[in-house]
Amino acid sequence: MAKTTAKDAQDLFRALRSAYAATPTKLKIIDIYVVFAIFTALIQVVYMGIVGSFPFNSFLSGVLSCVGTAVLAVCLRIQVNKDNKEFKDLPPERAFADFVLCNVVLHLVIMNFIG
């Protein structure tokens, strides 16, 4: 029983990897970017767990900077993905411009808050 479960899981992962291999490179880049941002945020959370949250505004700035940019990257990915019919008429360049603008505003606030 357990063997079949492990095999099923292996099959599932394999199917997932093969399906993901078909994803366009542009989307993969965004995915790596999101993972990078999330990991950076995680490292900061771990640091806070070890030493305490004393400069709390700095901690919040660091974590929210990462999380915020990850969320914006996810939004960019949704807009750029050709399978999403809603954004069919939206050129990917326009989506990228939005992403840049939102990041500029986000980081202005972050820098103000970092102390």
Binding site: I29, I43, Q44, V51, F54, P91, P92, A97, M111
Partner: protein, 727 residues
């Protein structure tokens, strides 16, 4: 009848408020004069100062300084320069009158003739004053010089024409406004002195009606006197607006000089011949009738003013005491000297060498009556009209006693021991009765004089005892005799259910009860908490009962040793005492929870100036920081995902093939990336040192630039991709 009664009441009320002692001029004034007028380099300074010093010493009879060596040359120089009708000349002549410098007779002749012309041409009252005054002085110093005023009547008229209906005198003929000093008013005293001088210098008789008019002016002037409660009269300069020195002393002094010199010359004229005497008496009688109507005051025939007014003025000058500055001392002494031998009435001053009399020492009540300068009075008797205690004013203690005269010292004394007068504060009223009826017209005694007097003596303290009583039964537990005159050291003990009783008797030498000003019992605890109790009395018995049950709260439940102190004191009591009685050991119950705490004892006042306690500032403790190594390790750790990201990109085979190849789009693309880098660097600067406003301004410009190049780049890329699709 009722009017008479009212008048009597007025006199009595005036007499009652005159409870004050005035002392005639004495050695105190002499030592003050020697202290205040001190020659510097053999001279007193200017001629005016020299005159004031010399005149004061002349009146007081002090012959200590000889300043003629230095002052006479100044006098002769001023006389030779002979300015007409000036203050300098007047002062020089005044000084010369006292010093008698050697001045040649023809100098006086020259000055006199110049002054006579000067007076004829004079236009202001001060010119008249100095001119006439100087002539009078020349007349005195050089009798052979002709100083008579041929047109005295005209001069008198022109001076009199300066007088105003309200009692003021104009400064000169030109000045119409008499209300202010600036417009020129001169003190009436100066004007009167000038008029007196004119009369004495007149070659022919003056019109008596003119003199009568001046007399009525004087009476009018005395209506503006101010009065103190002690019966002294003075003139306020606010009403009369003096020329020169301001203040009531100099104002009153000017009036005194003017009035006395005027009365001196008119009475001098009276003595010239019988005919003149008769006419003048008639005029005076006439004036008297007029005055009686005007003032409704009692006047003797021929008197210019009632003696009481002169006495009031004398009291004012003596009431000053010994003035502290030279000007006031001169003014006081000069005025008093004018009053000493004036022709109106000579004031007699009743004074007492001592107002505190001891029954133990068998002191006698002594009274002196002198003139203002301290010379002896004519034969007279002093009567003690009444003496009453200051507490019980309705019952007089002594009445109608005649004081015995000591023929040697001319002191009047009364043996108060023989009379039944007891210890206390009294008010004695005296009346001076002159023996000869002639003297009654010459001297002013001023009715009754009231003087406060203390009679002191030894108070007997008897049957003093202290006892502790049981509260419920009132039975005596301990009882001890006390010797309040000597040393006592009691040692008592009591609890809160008992009472402490202190009892003693006070009697005067005459066996009457005596109630001192202070009778206090003080209990003081070891911790310096003090309680003061007033000891009440009924007649001669003084008693206090301390019920400790009612006092426990007041004592703050403090058990232990209380020191007892008894105070009995009064001004009239010669044996006032403050003695420590000993102590009482009190056993009081424990203090309940809400009992009041004893108040903090007053701190030593010297400790206020000691150093204050140091102020320690408490700062917020710094937050605990992690070790630096850990922080640096995590900083490195955050860079790791970035490297992983880069590796991931390389693994995906990312390339820059889509970067625009033609020149213009490539430049825009490059500028776009540089713009983003610039924005990020700006953020870094904002974090490190810039403020929000500078950052926003820079971001505005960078943003517009970024928008422009970004738009160009991205639209180029979009057009490229559509081209690819369509191809």
């Amino acid at each position: 009848m009722s009017r008479n009664l009212g008048f009597l009441f007025l006199i009595l009320s005036l007499a009652i408020c005159q409870a004050a002692i005035f002392e005639p001029v004495s050695d105190k004034h002499r030592s003050a004069a020697l202290h205040l007028f001190r020659p510097v380099d053999g001279s007193f300074g200017s001629l005016e100062e020299s005159y004031e010093s010399l005149r004061t010493f002349e009146i007081l009879g002090v012959k200590k300084f000889d300043v003629s060596q230095s002052t006479c040359p100044l006098v002769v120089k001023t006389l030779e320069a002979s300015p007409t009708c000036s203050k300098d000349l007047f002062d020089a002549l005044r000084v010369n009158r006292i010093l008698r410098c050697e001045v040649e007779a023809d100098i006086f002749e020259k000055i006199a003739s110049k002054l006579q012309t000067g007076i004829r041409e004079a236009s202001s009252l001060l010119d008249f004053y100095y001119g006439v005054g100087s002539l009078g002085l020349i007349k005195e110093q050089s009798p052979e010089t002709n100083v008579q005023l041929s047109d005295a009547s005209t001069t008198f008229h022109s001076i009199k024409s300066l007088s105003q209906s309200d009692g003021r005198w104009l400064f000169s003929f030109g000045s119409v406004e008499s209300s202010t000093y600036a417009a020129g008013t001169v003190h009436p005293g100066l004007a009167l002195e000038t008029l007196a001088g004119v009369i004495s210098l007149a070659s022919s008789e003056l019109d008596q009606s003119m003199i009568g008019a001046v007399k009525s002016d004087i009476v009018k002037l005395f209506d503006s006197t101010e009065r103190y409660d002690d019966g002294s009269l003075y003139f306020d300069d606010k009403l009369l607006d003096t020329h020169g020195h301001q203040g009531p002393i100099s104002t009153t002094s000017a009036v005194v000089r003017g009035v006395t010199s005027f009365s001196a010359v008119i009475s001098g004229k009276l003595n010239v011949s019988y005919q003149q005497l008769l006419s003048c008496s008639l005029a005076c009688l006439l004036a008297f009738v007029v005055l009686c109507e005007m003032t409704i005051k009692f006047l003797l025939p021929g008197e210019l003013l009632p003696g009481d007014k002169i006495l009031g003025l004398a009291r004012f000058f003596l009431g000053i005491g010994v003035p502290g500055n030279a000007k006031d001392l001169f003014t006081q002494i000069d005025s008093v000297a004018c009053l000493e031998d004036n022709k109106i009435s000579i004031p007699l001053i009743l004074s007492l060498p001592a107002t505190v009399l001891s029954l133990t020492k068998k002191d006698q009540l002594k009274v002196k009556v002198n003139t203002v300068l301290g010379s002896s009075a004519p034969p007279l008797t002093v009567k003690l009209v009444q003496a009453f205690s200051s507490d019980k004013k309705e019952i007089p203690v002594l009445e109608n006693q005649k004081l015995n005269v000591d023929p040697e010292s001319s002191d009047h004394s009364l043996d108060i021991l023989s009379s039944n007068i007891d210890i206390g504060k009294y008010i004695f009223s005296f009346r001076v009765v002159l023996h000869e009826s002639e003297n009654k017209k010459i001297y002013a005694t001023g009715g009754q004089t009231q003087v406060p007097i203390f009679i002191t003596g030894f108070i007997n303290v008897d049957s003093s005892e202290i006892s502790i009583l049981d509260s419920d039964l009132g039975s005596i537990e301990t009882k001890q005799k006390l010797d309040l005159s000597g040393k006592t050291s009691l040692s008592l003990s009591a609890n809160h259910l008992q009472k402490l009783s202190l009892h003693f008797e006070l009697t005067t030498p005459h066996g009457n009860s005596f109630h001192p000003h202070q009778v206090l019992l003080k209990l003081s605890h070891e911790s310096k908490v003090e309680h003061v109790f007033l000891v009440g009395n009924s007649g001669r018995h003084f008693e206090i009962l301390l019920d400790f049950l009612g006092l426990v709260e007041k004592f703050y439940y403090l058990s232990g040793k209380y020191d007892m102190q008894l105070t009995v004191g009064d001004v009239a009591m010669e044996n006032s005492f403050l003695i420590a009685l000993g102590h009482v050991e009190l056993d009081l119950p424990q203090a309940p929870e809400k009992a009041p705490r004893p108040p903090p004892q007053p701190v030593d006042p010297s400790s206020i100036y000691g150093p204050k306690q140091e102020i320690i500032h408490i700062f917020r403790a710094t937050e605990k920081r992690p070790p630096q190594e850990l922080s640096l390790a995590f900083l490195g750790l955050t860079v790791l995902p970035f490297f992983a990201f880069l590796i991931g990109l390389v693994r995906l085979g990312v390339n820059l093939k889509n970067f625009p190849s033609s020149a213009l789009p490539a430049t825009f693309a490059l500028l776009f990336h540089c713009g983003i880098a610039a924005v990020l660097s700006l953020y870094l600067l904002f974090w490190l040192k810039l403020d929000l406003f500078t950052t926003l301004k820079a971001l505005g410009f960078l943003g517009i630039f970024l928008l422009f190049v970004g738009h160009r780049t991205l639209s180029h890329l979009a057009s490229m991709s559509t081209k690819l699709k369509s191809a």
